[in-house]
Symmetry: C2
Subunit: 336 residues, 2 copies
DNA sequence: CGCTATACTGAAAACGTTATCACTAATTAT
DNA sequence: ATAATTAGTGATAACGTTTTCAGTATAGCG
């Protein structure tokens, strides 16, 4: 491996000039040519460690997700990474295994590695530790977000799309619509419920508490919880004629229950799911499903982070809502 | 941020002694205590860049996968990462988008970042560039492997498990068994076909060329290709009574075709798939499916890499085969 | 008790960059 | 033509570690 000094010698300039060339600072054209030629000849690559040591910038971004083998999180990170790479950043992704304690450790680890910023999908509804461990760091929170927020945040627009889904069910004659929600400490869970409530209100239907179920939707227990909750819901009076599962895992659990019990969709109950791609392709009949735009989610996260990285002064934090879409299948029965 | 010098001052020793403490080198107990106390008090963390600059070791491992939002690859990397972290390494994962040109770029980028080693899932059947770009680097190749191999390699044992599957089909009275294989330039594709051929031979059944289809199984086109090939297979004479799809995407494509055409499994054709977890839970009837052990795959990749990282001298490259398992569903019909 | 071997220690020189600063050459204004 | 500015240069000092090396205590030995 050759160094800036080797290049300088070959080009007949000082190391400082070589540094100026590789950092796009003004240099006499003649010197520029000689240096670039020397760089090519020696296959010189600036040493990242030395550079970071001097500049205090590693051009590395730390990402933490609850489960890195889960497409949902990784797709977000993939697209964020793409944008960040365009700006010269590299990315380190770590897995918190859905546990806050581990998440904290990973953030700490990334701090030791001197990352320049973070994109985090929280494991639990708490990010207070960030200010202790990584105070002053550029941070973007993504998807799972605690309610009082002091950071830049990107979430999918749940209110709107759930509103539309409920509206559609109503127009198909459904009055008793059950919904399986996430814990209301999460912003996204709140939003999705808000869409449900608002639609019913707008159409002057009463809201039946018994048809609104709150479920711990963490990736570890979400499926199981939704499974049980679906049973509960279908035993309520009035029995719901339609169900909305407001999350990937909740969708999975709910459908598994109905499959196990042989409950026919849409004959016995209509259904709208969330984010379950593979299933959408294969389930018979095709499920109606809400899909979040992970590509945009990641891109926005990257944008917000870059904004922080590039601005020197304090900027007020921003919350970005990314549109979701509802794809229709044959899982909604027309009543009457 | 405090430095080794601040710590030294507070502890009343030289920076060298502090360095010795944080690197577990022998130090007088009294000094050890004073230094650790000072470290705690100042919340000192050794600067990674400075350390790397001096030691030429970053403790970073580069990983490259074709698609980082694909659970298959990420699960491998997740478990590899776990093992590597235990040994103090951090991991940078990059996405080659299934294109060799990009893969090369990512490897180059990771070289610039001075990673200490690589775990790579190749996009195409060629890793010759590695010797140009990253010659001498510790490298482990994973899952998709070109045939003549000069690196450490981890693959799933396809021969054995496909053999078992074919055997099972034979015992259920099937003689005409179709198989959708990957391109024979891939080691894994070869192995899976080998299992098929050997089982038929062992049971003295003729091998019918028309029932063995070779398909480009890359993540971009695999599904589509399998879709078309399934049609072909089912139009062959003799018509196969059972089908084996030897890969996740091939399974997906094949099942999609049969679903679209309303071909009933197992009534019209028996089926054994590969790696399609979500589907296994939901498809009706339950598919018989081969599952690879990604956890072990990743763990072995990490083990091989650590072996290279820790050994100073040249070691001969190793090829590790990880057992797969066959999970039975109701997709195999008993003939006669 | 003196001698050698042992076990730590601190000073100082790296590692490969970038940033500062004083300086020179080239340009412009007068 | 000379003075005043501008543009670009190289020497040098960081950045925060580790490593070498010579040195100093301490322990072990006869």
């Amino acid at each position: 491996m050759s160094t800036i000094i080797d290049v300088a010698k070959l080009a007949g300039t000082s190391p400082a000039t070589v540094s100026r060339v590789i950092n796009n600072k003004p240099v006499r054209p003649e010197n520029y040519d000689r240096v670039t030629a020397a760089i090519k000849e020696l296959r010189f690559e600036a040493n990242a460690s030395a550079r970071s040591l001097k500049t205090k910038k590693t051009w590395n971004i730390g990402m933490v997700v609850p489960f890195m083998d889960f497409f949902y999180f990784m797709r977000i990170m993939k697209y964020a990474q793409q944008r960040l790479e365009e700006q010269g950043y590299s990315v380190m992704i770590m897995d918190s295994e859905g546990e806050q304690e581990l998440e904290k450790e990973k953030v700490k680890k990334l701090m030791e590695l001197n990352v320049d910023g973070f994109i985090i999908v929280l494991s639990e509804n708490d990010c207070s530790y960030i200010n202790e461990i990584a105070s002053g760091m550029p941070v973007v929170l993504c998807d799972k977000v605690p309610n009082p927020i002091h950071h830049d945040v990107v979430v999918c627009d749940g209110a709107n799309i759930v509103y539309k889904s409920v509206e559609l069910l109503i127009k198909n004659g459904h009055e008793n619509i059950g919904i399986i929600c996430g814990p209301q400490v999460y912003y996204t869970a709140q939003e999705r419920l808000k869409g449900y409530l608002r639609a019913l209100e707008d159409y002057h239907y009463p809201i039946k508490e018994s048809l609104v179920k709150y479920v711990a939707w963490d990736t570890k227990h979400g499926v199981r919880n939704a499974y049980d909750t679906t049973r509960e819901l279908l035993n309520e009076t009035p029995r719901p004629t339609a169900l909305i599962a407001s999350n990937y895992d909740l969708t999975k659990g709910s459908l598994l229950y109905m499959q196990d019990e042989g409950i026919k969709i849409p004959e016995e109950v209509s259904f709208v799911g969330y984010d379950f791609e593979e299933l959408y392709e294969f389930y018979n009949p095709k499920m109606s499903m809400i899909f979040e735009d992970f590509e945009e989610l990641g891109a926005q996260a990257a944008r917000l982070l870059l904004r922080q990285l590039q601005s020197s002064g304090n900027i007020s934090s921003e919350i970005v809502r990314v549109k979701s879409r509802l794809v229709l299948g044959d899982s909604i029965k027309k009543l009457k």
